[in-house]
Subunit: 136 residues, 4 copies
């Protein structure tokens, strides 16, 4: 499929780091969540619309994440979002965290579109699917 490119800049604060002097490993997943929701917003789908109009939310089903180099306090990171595959209710997203041109962290995040009521998988709304498939 056509790949999508989106990138969110995030500054590293004390709250994101640990006593090892680096960004705590699970915090990178928080950064990635922020980038995914800003990417959805950039396609015209904010969270309130997803929940209230479409009665859906995205749940993380699985993640593979690799840490190459540490991020540190005050770094300006760029969190990339790149859709690599999409099923009926599932989206696979490659996410990369960079500082300047250096790759620090790589992940593949598999999310599933679920009903806000039953938490069971439902179809990705056609309008959203279309937006995702359209090259930017």
């Amino acid at each position: 499929m056509q790949s999508q490119h989106f990138s969110l800049p995030i500054r590293v604060y004390y709250q994101d780091t640990d006593a090892g002097g680096v960004v705590y490993h699970s915090t990178h997943l928080n950064f990635m969540e922020r980038a995914r929701y800003e990417w959805l917003r950039s396609l015209g789908f904010d969270v309130h619309e997803l929940i209230n109009t479409h009665k859906l939310q995205f749940m993380v089903r699985s993640i593979e994440i690799e840490y190459f180099r540490p991020a540190i306090l005050d770094d300006l990171l760029h969190i990339n979002v790149n859709v690599i595959d999409m099923g009926r209710s599932r989206i696979s997203i490659a996410q990369e965290i960079q500082r300047d041109q250096t790759r620090l962290v790589n992940a593949t995040v598999h999310v599933v579109c679920v009903s806000t009521e039953s938490l069971r998988p439902i179809r990705i709304p056609p309008h959203l699917r279309e937006k995702i498939e359209t090259p930017t």
Copy 2:
């Protein structure tokens, strides 16, 4: 009123610290929340019962917190809970974080009992009030 005493031991992990080498300041409030809920459980009121049977939750209304000495990685902290005042729907709780006999952090936390539906203040259930007022 009769004071209540309750203390919860909490170990400090990397996730609780920041690049300054100490426990991040807002993390102490998380430790204090854990201690308040374990104190309620020790009185026979777990969160599920509060929500499902009594349709209530406690919301934090205000906090005064003072940091005297830093807590660091691997410290074994004790988080104390001591009710200092109780109104119709409000409880004021003194909380202290200690390592050995040294006081690290002091706070007064004011919580309000609210309806899970309206989020408006409701009466503290008499049975809970009684438990809180009974000296241990």
Copy 3:
């Protein structure tokens, strides 16, 4: 003293909320930290310069915080920074969290300028003091 005004917009994501459906109470302190560091950056003092050139960091000494109304998922909040008092090594900062023109949270945060090595209070560098005192 001349008051300073600075405001940082922050979007609320799932990671900032809790099962009560609102922003978790201690997360507001994290939002406030982000705003304080962006305010320092706006004055020309980034964290690396503070640590490496001036060998100093700011530690939170005490906080009084009041929660008026809940913030929820997807809210766009504005976190204000307003210096209200400054001593030799201490700064008192009024911080407010707003959504549109509605005040959600108010805090006074007292920070102390400490040596990165001894963690003991040191003088606020004159150049930084001057920047803080100059009305914007």
Copy 4:
């Protein structure tokens, strides 16, 4: 190799959940870190000894994690630790999060033993290696 079994009970508080009503996905990694450090402590290696005596720390190199069922507020979870492979400086650990006998989350966490100064990989101390290899 001989497998090791270790399990840490963890209670779910508001701070661990999100507005979807479930434990936030990255919080499960925090639970897993707590279990790994308690497992090391159970082998006689606390963090202070690792850092001060052995000048080492463990850094997460990669993680594969799968979410099967949500954990919710007030759940009592069990976080399991099971070493599945060990190299010169690397340990691969299977971690499972259970509620009663139900598996909620599965992960494989690959950590590397690094020097606290250079952050470069160093040998796992023989005494620790031996402890890990000895069936409990």
